[in-house]
């Protein structure tokens, strides 16, 4: 809970920095602040507590995911220094930073909610901040379009979530997730139909938020139109936050009722895996490619959600870490290339290996980790999720997932082939120091986790 309050304070500080003319020092101060919060967050490890009359509760689950969220935001802040360089951006830098902090607040609420009100507020805090950030390039129609589409889809899904919450409240008479869990346990054999309808509505809304098929149509458009840095944030932090909240919601409130939703979840999982990987094959825009790759990763994470009776939270966490570091490294490289070449298509990467072999090798490692090839963290993330799902009796789903991850290798290879075997373009591509550091740190984490995955396997 302290993590949440301090992060909100940093957000307020960001707003005040505008008044006191601290814009130049804002990013270093926020980075320092987040690093301090990151270490404070570790104190809640093995120290479960509830706060505000059972509104929020710290647990190892929330501590681990909060740590990951803080780390992602730290990386995004470091990247933002060299990303927001135009004069218009510099004028608004404190607004951007404050909104990013509030986004983080929303994510932290989603990790530790123990009341439906906090789930709703967390999702909305996260989403509303992101609507603004996605549309933050005011004079670009594409960014406007991304922001507005995200807004329409997001608030539409939130209304479904609310209707589901209202129906569940009507049946159980409480918003507390423990109360709802108790009701579910006592009435497991004959659940009220309204309870099941409410649960299904909430599941649909969460599938919307994690951009699972068939509710994924907004994701590629929004990812393409939003500023690249915000795309990086959406495809890592937002996706992970939505999945953690989804896991927490289902595992506390609806475990015994999941049989009724099994068909929805499995169909959506299989569709997400296939659609994400197949449509990614024909993409030319790198951001869109990563968007579809993000959709397919949502499919793998849904596999962990489906088999949650066997406590797959550790596997989900390991997967999230591997996915986040690989994506962040890929986006850091992509932003560098976009800036130098002025295009977001894959052809911008042509011949990168001749001009900057180290950068090309880094992007290759990030792509291989996303594709799930050892020795990177992405491989073990996938491996643990698949083996947990297999152990819980989802052999068919694991089969679909393996087929689709083989398809996935092809489009990751497309980028690698462009870098190594296409003729080079004339642009000089060299990342700044901050970007080099970020790329190095992310890839080192990915390799270390790939070599010693045991650290996280039985963590939670």
């Amino acid at each position: 809970m302290n993590t949440l309050i301090y992060t909100a304070c940093l957000g307020l500080f960001g707003l005040l920095a505008e008044i006191f003319n601290l814009r130049k020092y804002l990013i270093p101060i926020l980075v320092l602040g987040l690093a301090v919060i990151f270490s404070l967050n570790l104190q809640t490890w093995n120290n479960p507590q509830t706060h505000f009359n059972g509104m929020l509760s710290d647990s190892n689950f929330s501590t681990a995911f909060s740590g990951l969220a803080l780390f992602i935001m730290l990386i995004i802040l470091i990247l933002s220094g060299d990303f927001y360089t135009s004069t218009d951006d510099e004028k608004h830098i404190s607004d951007y930073m404050a909104i990013l902090m509030f986004t983080l607040c929303g994510a932290l609420m989603m990790f530790s909610f123990s009341n439906m009100a906090m789930l709703f507020l967390g999702i909305e805090t996260l989403s509303i901040s992101l609507y603004v950030m996605a549309g933050s390039r005011r004079f670009e129609v594409k960014s406007n379009e991304a922001g507005f589409k995200y807004f329409l889809m997001g608030s539409f899904a939130s209304a479904f979530l609310l209707f589901g919450i209202a129906l569940v409240f009507g049946v159980t008479g409480t918003f507390s997730i423990d109360g709802i869990g108790n009701y579910m346990r006592m009435h497991a054999d004959k659940l009220d139909p309204l309870f099941i309808v409410g649960m299904l509505l909430m599941i649909f809304a969460m599938l919307f938020k994690v951009s699972a098929a068939p509710f994924h149509f907004w994701a590629p458009d929004v990812y393409e139109g939003a500023p690249s840095l915000i795309t990086a944030l959406m495809s890592t932090l937002v996706k992970i936050a939505a999945f953690a909240a989804f896991y927490r919601l289902l595992s506390t409130c609806f475990v015994f009722a999941l049989g009724k939703a099994e068909i929805v979840l499995t169909v959506s999982c299989a569709a997400t895996l296939l659609v994400g990987n197949l449509v990614a094959l024909v993409q030319d825009n790198f951001k869109r490619l990563l968007a579809y790759s993000g959709i397919s990763h949502a499919g793998y994470m849904l596999l962990a959600i489906i088999s949650l009776q066997g406590r797959t939270d550790s596997a989900l966490f390991l997967y999230s870490v591997g996915y986040a570091v690989a994506s962040l490294a890929a986006f850091a490289i992509a932003i560098t290339v976009f800036k130098a070449t002025g295009t977001e298509s894959i052809s911008g990467f042509n011949g990168l290996a001749k001009k900057n072999p180290l950068l090309a090798a880094s992007l290759t490692m990030a792509m291989l980790s996303l594709a799930g090839i050892p020795p990177f963290a992405g491989f073990f993330g996938k491996y643990f999720i698949f083996s947990e799902a297999f152990r819980n009796g989802w052999q068919n789903m694991v089969f679909v997932a393996i087929i689709s991850s083989i398809i996935g290798v092809f489009y990751y290879m497309k980028v690698i082939v462009a870098m190594y075997s296409k003729p080079a373009n004339e642009f000089e591509i060299k990342p700044t120091f901050a970007y080099q550091m970020v790329i190095a740190v992310c890839l080192i984490i990915s390799i270390v986790l790939g070599l010693y995955p045991g650290v996280f396997t039985k963590l939670l």
Binding site: N144, L162, F163, T174, F175
Partner: protein, 106 residues
Amino acid sequence: MENSIQSVPQNWYLLLSTFMFCIGVMGVLLRRNAIIILMCIELMLNAVNLLLVSYSSYAGNAEGQVFVFFIMVVAAAEVAVGLALLVSIYRNVASTDIDILNRMKW
């Protein structure tokens, strides 16, 4: 106060708010004007509010009515952001028709 809410059977509230919610959903899916879509989303949220108030009145549990305030606050914030985005779109393309927002495909 309690009585005036409870003078209508509870299922009717459920039916009414489901009906309102469906009107909102159809509006979002079928209408092309962005402002009408915003109003339809508000309609969906208000259907939820009505349902929560009726449930909480029947159960004698004020929690539901407190939740309604949360929803109202969030809806206000959401509309503020949505209208701001709409204004910036209107400045660029001089229209509020969402078919224009279809530059990106596949």
